[in-house]
């Protein structure tokens, strides 16, 4: 700077009144902000001196140059000056830009772009198009990814809901609206509780298994996860009989298990959805059966606490009930977990049963006449189901039983009926064995079984077919049927054996009717008699009955040929001349292996009152006995005919 100093004057920084309004309000100029103040200061910078300085320098240079070379550099002088001016302007602008960049209170007010050249336009377009294309490609990938995941989700849902719908066709599916639904569970449950109980007041407690949650497994398919050993099954057995085959049976019957289910998930790709749904159905059915077994056991427990006919509890433990059914037989009913843990099961059941040497179960059953264990289980479940789970109007008639809990003291409840049935079954097997023994030894007896279709009654008939009378063989063909019926001699004698619970009733023809004997009528000399007996006495009774039937038949035959004979219980007496008697006597011995009935021929001298005195003499002269042996009916008949001819020498037909 040189020379004159220029001074500018500012206004005092005092607020000066701008205006006063009519209402007296004063208006001041607005305060300028800090930025505005700076801007105004900068604007006031006068660059004229710089420009003037530059211009003076240039002039001086020009004067110098012109003094040096006035004519030669004249045409370039203006260009040089222009360049210098441009340089100055540029330096100013650059300073401004630097200030702007430093954010130093100067901003760009406007900017005019220079018009772009064509190649610039095209390259800009190309860049935009490329960027946009890139964007769209990325969008495309995004959409594809989303669609893939949606498809997977749809497929998973389709599998899930398809399986659920198929399950719903057989099971009750319920939905709980879970507010904060986790991703793996939408609140579906399957309700397995059976509320069709007849006596619903008795069993209203649903088991913990009766509501099963439906969950998603790792592949999105529905899965049912049960805790292990949650399914229990009813197990029945006779104490001391079946000790070796329990765990195996259980493991064969119930093979499904939640752990197995989970391990099978890894093989699921090889299994179709159909198979999977079927397996789930099976699993649910097992749980359902387990619930039913639980209910059966609870009902039996409840019955066991009541005093009723046929129920004799000898042991109670958790999930175990032991009952005595008479004649030294004991049965047990227990609830055992129906799947894994075979070792545990066998240990438990070994503990439960008494320490008896394990026998071959099959032969043991046959030997002792025990019914099949599985059939007993089924029977038990069936009678509980029929009586407790069926509507009243549909209830079938269980003769001699009533519904549980309602019966009086002399009527057995369900458990009582079951125990009595089993006791009867065992007892009737023994009766059958005895009857078979008897029948096998006597060749002219036939045994016929009559199924009674009643669980506490059994019935058999022992037939004795006698050979037809020769005399009547021809005449019967001529007479009418009615005559035949009336006059025909019996060709069959029957003895009926009926077992009710543990009482044996024997009913048969053969014993002489005392009244008939007095009247000496040929009709109704053989009557039907009934009596009860024990198992030990049964063979003897049967043999006695049969022997008396044979005697009866022989008596009839003798009467037919016109010979009068006296019939005692087991003895048929013919009168010979001079008071001598010949008797055919039956001897019954159930222990006799060759045959139960043997025959003796006894001849006696007339005077009946004397024979007692002569009893002491074994082979006395007035009594003669001959053992005939075990005779068939034909031989007996011919013997009779011989005796008839012997004593009918002077008599006519």
């Amino acid at each position: 700077m040189d020379g004159n100093l220029e001074i500018s004057l500012d206004k005092l920084p005092v607020k000066r009144l701008d205006a006063i309004e009519e209402n007296g309000a004063e208006r001041y100029p607005p305060d300028s902000s800090y930025d505005e103040k700076r801007v105004s200061l900068i604007r006031r910078i006068d660059f004229a001196w710089a420009v003037e300085d530059d211009e003076e320098r240039e002039r001086k240079k020009k004067q110098k140059k012109s003094s040096k070379d006035a004519s030669a550099t004249w045409q370039w002088q203006s260009m040089v000056e222009n360049l210098q001016l441009a340089h100055q302007e540029l330096s100013v602008i650059i300073d401004l830009i630097n200030t702007v960049e430093a954010n130093d209170a100067v901003t760009v007010a406007g900017l005019t772009r220079p018009k772009p050249l064509p190649n610039e336009v095209l390259s800009d377009l190309a860049v935009s198009a490329a960027t946009k294309l890139q964007c769209y490609r990325q969008l495309g990938k995004y959409f594809k990814q989303s669609s893939n995941s949606f498809e997977e989700q749809i497929a998973r849902e389709a599998r899930f809901y398809g399986a659920l719908i198929r399950l719903q066709q057989n099971w009750k599916v319920k939905r709980q609206r879970v507010a904060a639904a986790s991703s793996s569970n939408e609140g579906f449950t399957i309700d397995l509780f059976d509320n069709s109980l007849y006596d619903s007041a008795a069993m209203c407690r649903p088991s913990s298994l009766s509501t099963i949650r439906v969950e998603h497994d790792s592949a999105g398919m529905l899965a049912i996860n049960l805790p292990p050993n949650s399914c229990r099954s009813l197990h029945f057995g006779f104490l001391g009989v079946h000790s070796s085959d329990i765990p195996k049976d259980l493991s064969k019957i119930r093979t499904h298990d939640s752990v197995e289910q989970r391990t099978r998930e890894s093989e699921k790709e090889s299994k179709s959805d159909d198979d999977y749904v079927k397996e789930t159905h099976t699993l649910l059915r097992e749980v359902h059966q387990s619930i039913f077994d639980d209910q059966v056991f609870e009902m039996l427990n409840r019955e066991a606490f009541k005093q009723s006919v046929g129920v004799n509890v000898t042991g109670i433990r958790e999930n175990y009930l032991q009952l005595s059914i008479g004649q030294g037989n004991t049965l047990f009913i227990s609830l055992v977990p129906s799947n894994k843990g075979d070792n545990q099961d066998s240990a438990d059941t070994q503990n439960l049963e008494s320490a008896i040497v394990p026998l071959q179960s099959f032969d043991t059953e046959k030997k002792w006449g025990f019914p099949n264990r599985t059939s007993c289980e089924i029977y038990l479940q069936q009678i509980v189901h029929e009586n407790a789970f069926v509507n009243e109007k549909d209830k079938p008639n269980l003769s001699s039983t009533q519904a549980s809990g309602q019966s009086g003291k002399d009527e057995p409840g369900l458990l009582g009926h079951f125990c009595l049935s089993l006791a009867h079954r065992i007892f009737s097997n023994r009766v059958l064995m005895e009857l078979e023994n008897v029948v096998c030894r006597v060749p002219y007896l036939h045994l016929m079984t009559h199924p009674t279709w009643h669980s506490r009654t059994s019935s058999w008939t022992i037939f004795m077919k006698v050979p037809q009378s020769i005399l009547h063989a021809e005449s019967q063909s001529l007479k009418s049927d009615f005559q035949n019926l009336k006059d025909a001699i019996k060709s069959q004698f029957r003895t009926k054996v009926v077992v009710n619970d543990d009482r044996i009733n024997v009913e048969g023809e053969g014993a002489p009717n005392v009244v008939g004997l007095f009247k000496r009528s040929s009709e109704n000399t053989c009557s039907v008699n009934k009596y009860e007996c024990d198992l030990a006495d049964l063979p003897v009774i049967i043999l006695l009955q049969v022997a008396s039937q044979v005697i009866c038949w022989l008596h009839e035959e003798a009467l037919t040929v016109g010979i009068k004979t006296n019939r005692d219980f087991l003895c048929l007496t013919f009168e010979l001349e001079q008071g001598e008697t010949v008797s055919l006597v039956a001897h019954v011995n159930p222990e006799d292996i060759k045959g139960g009935i043997s025959w003796w021929l006894v001849m006696e001298d007339g005077f009946a009152e004397d024979w007692k005195l002569q009893m002491d003499m074994h082979d006395g002269a007035s009594e003669y006995r001959k053992f005939l042996g075990h005779l068939t009916l034909d031989v007996l008949y011919s013997s009779l005919m011989d005796l008839v001819s012997l004593c009918g020498g002077g008599r006519n037909h």
């Binding site: 377009l125 946009k132 964007c135 995004y142 599916v173 078979e436 036939h446």
Partner: protein, 148 residues
């Protein structure tokens, strides 16, 4: 949908009205979602025009991403609607469910009866066979005594 026929045939008028209302709301949701998808897609396509300087590119990119996300969201919402409908079909198709249950009940009853008849027949046949066999056995000459 079953619900379409629910008006007037439902158990109560209130339930029928609720069903209609629910149907309306579902249709509304469907409309909204589909309109959403269509609208966003239109905007996406519109933005495809390339005539602006690069400064707007990032803005457009962001907008495109946003619209794409909205489309996907609308599609997801539609899918959820579909699974809700499936659930409703499972649990509210009472007519078909009842029919099916009755049908199954009848099937099972018939099966039970058939099994009972079969058991009775088996029993009768077994009794007849037993009678015949006993007759033959005790008439035969080869009866052996039971060895004990």
């Amino acid at each position: 949908m079953n619900k379409g026929t629910g008006v007037g045939t439902g158990p109560t008028a209130a339930a029928a009205a609720a069903a209609t209302q629910k149907q309306k709301s579902m249709m509304q949701r469907v409309e909204t979602d589909i309109a959403n998808i269509v609208d966003n897609f239109t905007q996406l396509v519109n933005v495809a025009r390339v005539n602006e300087p690069p400064v707007r590119n990032s803005q457009e990119t962001f907008m495109m991403e946003m619209r794409a996300a909205r489309m996907v969201q609308a599609a997801d919402s539609l899918l959820k609607l579909v699974s809700e409908l499936k659930q409703t079909a499972i649990f509210s198709g009472f007519a078909s469910l009842n029919d099916h249950v009755e049908q199954r009940t009848n099937e099972f009853n018939q099966q039970a009866e058939k099994t009972d008849r079969m058991l009775a027949r088996i029993g009768e046949e077994a009794a007849a066979s037993l009678k015949e066999l006993e007759c033959h056995y005790y008439s035969s000459a080869q009866r052996t005594a039971d060895t004990e």
